[in-house]
Amino acid sequence: MLSRVAESVYWMSRQIERAENIARFLEVTLHLILDQPENLVDPWDPLVRVTGDDEWFKKKYGLPNQENVVQFLAFDEEYPHSMLTCLRTARENARGVREKLSSEAFEQINEFYLFVNDASRNESLDRTSQFFDDIRQHALLWSGVFASTMAQDTTWHFANVGRMLERADKTSRVLDVKYFNLLLSVDHVGTAIDDLQWSALLLAISGMEAYRRDHHDIDLENVIAFFLFNRTFPRSVHHCIASAGWSLGEIDNCSRAHEASQTSKQLDVLQHRLANTRVKEVLAGGMHQFVDGVQREVNEIGNSLAEDFFQTSHQ
């Protein structure tokens, strides 16, 4: 397929995934504050920190209160990673590769974007968890349409790589920031409030039910293992990296050279490491350091992908 098209499909898919994750964070947080007495851990500041763009936020908004954070993450048109800008760029990318998508897939992206764009201009909109739940439904529809109307060809695999790399990054970030936040309030470890917070985190990746089936009780190590190493849950880091690796393998198989690309090799290394690390080792070496390492590797994989596939020139 055309290199330009592969790149657009990859980014389109990443941006939709990113928008979905933002909606998940906001929905769960809005839900969580209903259960929390006012004097407890502020849930909004970590949401800003999860983006890594806290400086940018502080300059424009100042205080990380509910109104500011929702506006920033969901609707800010100047912020390149807000839900609205992500969907707009995703839609622009989709327009540029429309002939490679099924009609249903394009229409779903278009509707998704129009829904959020219209909402951002609607002054009377109640920006509560119900609204973000609607957005999550749109995202799920997108996943369904993508799975059931698109041939699993090279286009599909590039999109899947984009989605899985983005998801791995976001899942690891949530864990990182929450952990950081927990250390600041170490008194709460093992309390009811702590339970609530970890549950909210699992809800943010739709993993509450899957986790409970395995473990019943909230337990720090089990939650971390679920986030990082679970092999069957579709939002765990290990599962995302394995899925991206599978797609890359399929892409390599279709090439004339029939050999593994640099990207493929890097994905294999990361997957191998995730499969062979234990939670105790993570905690001993420092959770933040571990997650940081994963994120760095995911970034490098993205760079290799561009070199291997998006920059075809004279041979």
């Binding site: 397929m1 055309l2 290199s3 330009r4 098209v5 592969a6 048109e77 707009r88 622009e92 327009r95 540029g96 429309r98 002939e99 009609s103 394009f106 229409e107 278009n110 509707e111 129009l114 764009n117 090279t154 590039f158 892409i251 279709c254 090439s255 004339r256 050279a257 596939f309 998006f310 075809t312 020139s313 004279h314 041979q315």
Partner: protein
């Protein structure tokens, strides 16, 4: 509608109360206002081919037509069949206005149009091959050399080119109008990158969903096979008669106003949609950059204008094209549809000579007439035009899209004076035509039907001099403003589905 007959034009209708079966329905409350209306006659009753449609409209509950119109607009919006207004970063999007009442053309009217268009494209292709090679038509005094050579779309870089089978223009979209008697005239030949065919297909698809019965009862000829026919034509163009050439569509990119169409056609044909930056030339061969290295390209349906195609030969600032593309083309390593240089034959001045071309090259009389045209370059014509500006339509030869036009009867004295000045300054650039009372079709205007002027752009695919196919129907554009004669979408025009009725006994879908 009780009749299931395929020959609707002869069938009779039955009114809802079971009354007399021979009563022809009228469109209630609708006024012709003295214009030629394509759906109802001067007496206000439905024309034979429109009976099923008028009957349906009359039976719909009040407000239902409007409800369906709104539903269609919403679905076009959701499908993203829009053009973007880039006045702000919000990317305001508009749909091309669509009108729910179809335009119906009888089998007899269509038969003339079809043979007329085939004749015309044969002559135009002969003309193109001639002016870039032997120039017989000039040497024999039929067309003055000055008119051809001064044409901005005459490209000296194309001299000596010999496209296979003498076909320069493979895809044409000819603009037709009907006057107050219903007679058909050619208003303009579009031989470069005519657009709009995607709207024809989309309009048809929404109409079939909304009016299945009236549609079936009217024996409408299908248009859905256009992409397949286009693909087959392009495939046949492979260099050296190769069996399975790689065909691509070349677009200027996502910001082009016709981008949706480029993407739609590539999608429907199942071929790659490429931009200039996706292509490169090596050893006079065209390649595209893919995730699996460079891959050869054999046939390009290009929707990039001539002078942007190749910065080595034409506009050197162009970033839309591919450096070296013309070298590859001249070497016969890639086929282009349409060939570069076709614009000389749809120049508004050259247009006036198409009748002469048909006589000169084919030895036939034109089947479709031109609108009578005054060339301001001729002193005599210029004098007449300047004296009758209040009756004429004046057009700038180098402009399109409804720009650079003076509609004399609707213009102010200041506008007419301004045009008179322009004509005197640059007579070669202006032609004038009598103001036609264009035919009208009922159109939804805030909850009721009113007559609005229309034109028609049928699409012609030319594989060889004797292998020409005309899409039955085409894009009907409608001037939505009351009394307006300008149908361009950039000037408040919309579009309608066009129903060409099969003649009695004729198979609806033809091989």
């Amino acid at each position: 509608m009780q009749s299931q007959s395929q020959t609707q034009s002869q069938s009779q209708t039955q009114t809802s109360d079971g009354g007399p079966a021979d009563e022809i329905p009228r469109l209630s409350g609708y006024q012709n206002e003295g214009f030629y209306d394509e759906v109802v006659t001067h007496d206000g009753v439905a024309r034979p081919d429109s009976v099923a449609l008028v009957d349906l409209i009359n039976r719909l509950p009040v407000g239902e037509l409007m409800r369906r119109q709104r539903a269609i607009e919403r679905s076009l919006y959701q499908k993203g069949i829009t053009f973007t207004v880039y006045s702000d970063n919000q990317g305001t999007e508009k749909i091309m206005p669509f009108d729910i009442v179809p335009r119906i053309l009888s089998a007899a009217v269509w038969a003339d149009i079809e043979v007329g268009l085939k004749q015309r494209i044969r002559a135009l292709n002969r003309f193109l091959d001639d002016v870039y090679n032997e120039r017989r038509i000039i040497n024999e005094g039929v067309i003055p050399a000055g008119i051809v050579d001064s044409c901005p779309h005459y490209l000296p870089q194309c001299r000596g080119l010999k496209p296979p089978a003498g076909v320069w223009c493979h895809i044409t979209g000819t603009d037709l109008v009907r006057d107050n008697e219903g007679e058909v005239f050619v208003l303009e030949d579009n031989l470069r990158c005519p657009s709009g065919v995607s709207y024809v297909l989309q309009n048809r698809s929404v109409m079939k969903k909304n009016f299945p019965r009236a549609f079936a009862d009217s024996s409408v000829r299908p248009v859905d096979d256009y992409p397949a026919r286009l693909y087959h034509m392009l495939r046949k163009m492979g260099p050296g008669g190769m069996l399975n050439p790689t065909v691509v569509v070349l677009t200027p990119g996502v910001y082009n106003s016709a981008y949706y169409e480029h993407s739609f056609l590539a999608h429907q044909m199942g071929v790659e949609l490429v931009e200039g930056r996706d292509l490169l030339i090596e050893n006079d061969r065209v390649f595209m950059r893919t995730t699996d290295g460079l891959q050869p390209v054999d046939v390009i349906y290009r929707r990039v204008d001539d002078t942007f195609l190749d910065p080595e030969v034409f506009n050197e600032d162009s970033v839309l094209g591919v450096p070296g593309l013309m070298r590859a083309y001249r070497s016969g390593n890639v086929a282009l549809a349409n060939a570069p240089g076709t614009g000389v034959a749809d120049d508004k001045v050259v247009y006036a000579f198409v009748g002469e071309m048909i006589r000169f090259y084919l030895g036939e009389e034109p089947i479709l007439n031109n609108v009578p045209t005054y060339l301001c370059e001729r002193a005599e014509d210029r004098k007449y035009v300047l004296a009758h500006l209040d009756e004429l339509v004046v057009k700038a030869a180098g402009e399109s899209g409804g720009y650079g036009i003076l509609i004399g009867p609707h213009a102010s004295p200041e506008q007419r004076a301004e045009f008179a000045e322009k004509i005197r300054e640059n007579p070669r650039n202006y032609v004038a035509q009598p103001t036609l009372q264009l035919s009208r079709v009922p159109t939804m205007v805030s909850d009721s039907l009113e007559g609005r002027h229309v034109d028609l752009r049928p699409y012609v695919l030319c594989r060889g001099p004797d292998d020409v196919w005309v899409l039955p129907g085409g894009l009907t554009r409608v001037a939505l403003k009351k009394g307006s004669l300008v149908v361009n979408s950039s000037q408040g025009g919309g579009s309608k589905d066009t129903w060409v009725v099969a003649s009695p006994g004729q198979r609806i879908a033809q091989p």
